[in-house]
């Protein structure tokens, strides 16, 4: 039998990172503090300001939570972001799986095509969707021309149009986060399952899906937070009637000049995303343990 001897080191352990090693971090931390932490702090401060009195007040917060229109906007944001996250993940999954497994030269081409839309910029792509989805846009004109419908379908200026546009914008990020997870699955696991009698479908159900759950969670999370913070697509494709948190903040700042109320909205949005991020990362680490990865 082997005997394992445990001993504690006699000298105290030295710090792994000597102070000198922190020097390169000074510049980025300065930038972060100046342009991120300070404005963030200011925004929290502003949210407690009052337009009339000088002392801090919760007035803007109580206005927020008693205003039905604003709360409807919050609910709309959550629903829209959830739908976008779902669509992104569902659409990105097969693409990412193909990219993770493909060895042919098509892989590079398809990868480039999947990422390329990012280069076009959000506004350009959103206008593209507007051209397609408008009442007199491509789809409706085509359907009316063929005589299938007489009135244009409501494809834009509503939840549907925004979800379509945002899904397109965010899809590459979903692909990337799923790709990392799927690439980490040893292809021999699939081969083993197959030779043990599992059909393609059974391999996906019993092996690929459970092992890629962390990737699914992070794709969902990225989709949710990016959708919740998106401005241009909901503004252009949603039209005047479709208000979400991001567009409402813009409105408060630019039209109503109510900075404290805008700051409250921004903070609520921030908390919403932090909550989503927190739940997501907790879920992910729980699953990591549970799946014994």
């Amino acid at each position: 039998m082997a005997v394992i001897i445990c001993s504690t080191p006699t000298k105290p352990l030295r710090a792994v990172v000597p102070v000198k090693g922190l020097l390169p971090l000074i510049a980025p931390s300065l930038v972060l503090v100046l342009f991120f932490a300070i404005p963030m702090g200011m925004m929290i401060g502003i949210s407690f300001q009052s337009q009339t009195e000088g002392s801090p007040t919760l007035a803007s917060y109580s206005r927020f939570f008693s205003n039905d229109l604003v709360l409807a906007g919050l609910a709309r944001t959550v629903v829209m972001s959830g739908l976008v996250a779902l669509c992104v993940t569902v659409l990105a999954y097969p693409l990412a799986y193909y990219l993770a497994r493909a060895t042919s030269r098509w892989r590079t081409v398809i990868f480039a095509l999947a990422i390329a839309p990012e280069l076009a910029g959000v506004v350009l792509r959103t206008y593209g969707w507007l051209i397609i989805l408008e009442d007199r846009g491509f789809i409706n004109s085509a359907l009316i021309w063929t005589g299938l419908i007489t009135e244009p379908l409501p494809l834009s200026k509503n939840l549907f149009g925004v979800v379509v546009g945002l899904t397109h914008v965010i899809l590459p990020f979903g692909v990337l986060s799923l790709l990392t997870s799927l690439q980490g699955i040893n292809p021999n696991l699939e081969k083993s399952a197959q030779i043990l009698g599992a059909s393609r479908l059974a391999v996906i159900r019993h092996i690929i899906l459970p092992l890629s759950v962390p990737g699914i969670v992070s794709s969902f999370l990225i989709g949710f937070t990016m959708a919740a913070s998106a401005y241009a697509t909901p503004a252009l494709l949603g039209g005047a009637g479709f208000k979400v948190m991001a567009t409402m903040v813009y409105e408060q700042v630019l039209f109503y000049l109510d900075w404290p109320f805008a700051a409250v909205m921004a903070n609520v949005l921030l908390i919403l995303m932090l909550a989503a991020g927190f739940i997501g990362s907790r879920l992910e680490s729980r699953l990591h343990q549970k799946l014994h990865l």
């Binding site: 021999n188 083993s192 030779i195 043990l196 459970p210 014994h292």
Partner: protein, 362 residues
């Protein structure tokens, strides 16, 4: 009559312009332990992948139990597979891993449990049912991989270098165990390895591959005793391989000239080598004997004298390099009992049996 479990008929595989497997024909008998042995990159895994159905042959036919397998997907081939890196499902317990094949066959729960405990018993892993793969040592993981593969009772098990991630001691113990499992179950094992010792120790038959073709096929003793090419002689065991030419000699023997004709040995005439075609001569180190020890040798032998150049003590054996008359160097393996007598610079008398001088065409 032996039945043939797996048959390859002129199978080739090409990736782009590279011919990785080139016109291989094999017949693997049922219930035998067959090794595919060859250096890295010679196409062993590719051959297994074609048998398993992960790759389709570019040409030729693969038959399993007499049936052509073209278009038959891996999941329908009813064979087992064990990978070098185990490939256990990390999110399943040992029991779930081992029971996966039976579950995929749609067996009832009790039957799966039965199969799992039987398979775990045959790899000596009872009591590990609820562990996860990452909670096991490498050797235990390998056992689970074997148990998982044999649980659905396939008639053939393919193993792709299953022991090469284990340390030497464990590897040697697992060799014996795998062989026992194979014999107990009467399953056909196709065992891929580049470790010739492993193949020698376990196999009923060895298929030596080189650059996508079969260099030689036969029982381990035959391949070791009469390698057909210098590649096989060099790859299987240790050997002295020397450029040589041969001509007919007395008593139906052959006269073999080595080292540009300065050394001449007599070789027993083999059936399959024409004297004109001889290019190399192979002499196993253990056949280069000290004359006094070879005194009891009851077959005709070449007698040589030489000078010891270098001695390496391997424990049970010593390895010695002898410069013999004619200027050629021969490696010799000698039992260690004579260690004290042998050191660099000694003059020694050597004996090499006629039958131990093997002639090769390439």
């Amino acid at each position: 009559m032996t039945t043939i479990d797996i048959e390859l008929l002129s199978v080739s595989k090409q990736f782009g312009a590279n011919r990785i497997v080139d016109d291989i024909s094999l017949a693997i008998p049922k219930g035998k332990f067959v090794s595919i042995l060859g250096p890295s990159g010679c196409g062993k895994t590719t051959t297994l992948n074609m048998i398993a159905g992960f790759e389709a042959p570019s040409s030729g036919q693969i038959r399993i139990r007499g049936r052509d397998q073209e278009g038959v997907p891996p999941e329908a081939r009813k064979i087992g597979l064990v990978f070098q890196n185990y490939a256990l499902f990390p999110h399943m317990t040992v029991a779930q891993n081992v029971g996966f094949g039976l579950k995929m066959q749609g067996r009832p729960r009790e039957e799966i449990a039965d199969g799992v405990s039987r398979a775990l018993k045959s790899v000596h892993l009872e009591g590990f049912e609820d562990r996860y793969p990452k909670e096991l040592s490498g050797g235990q993981q390998q056992r689970v991989a074997v148990a998982r593969a044999i649980a659905p009772s396939p008639s053939v098990l393919l193993l792709d270098e299953p022991l090469s991630n284990l340390d030497l001691k464990l590897r040697e113990a697992m060799r014996v165990e795998l062989k026992e499992i194979q014999e107990d179950l009467g399953m056909t094992f196709i065992y891929v390895t580049h470790d010739q010792e492993e193949a020698m120790a376990m196999s009923d038959r060895i298929i030596v591959m080189q650059g996508g073709v079969v260099a030689q096929e036969g029982a381990p003793a035959d391949i070791y005793g009469s390698p057909r090419t210098s590649f096989v002689a060099d790859f299987i065991g240790k050997s002295n391989i020397l450029p040589a030419s041969a001509e007919p000699g007395a008593d139906r023997n052959l006269k073999v000239s080595l080292g540009a004709g300065k050394a001449v040995l007599t070789a027993a005439r083999g059936d399959d080598v024409a004297p004109d075609n001889v290019r190399f001569c192979c002499i196993r180190p253990e056949a280069v004997r000290l004359a006094e020890a070879a005194g009891a040798l009851d077959e005709p032998a070449n007698r040589l004298t030489g000078t010891v150049q270098k001695v390496v003590n391997l424990g049970a054996y010593i390895e010695a390099w002898m410069l013999v008359d004619g200027g050629i160097t021969l490696k010799s393996m000698i039992r260690s009992t004579r260690l004290e007598k042998l050191s660099a610079g000694c003059r020694v008398d050597l004996a090499i049996a006629h039958s131990a001088v093997q002639l090769l065409e390439q």
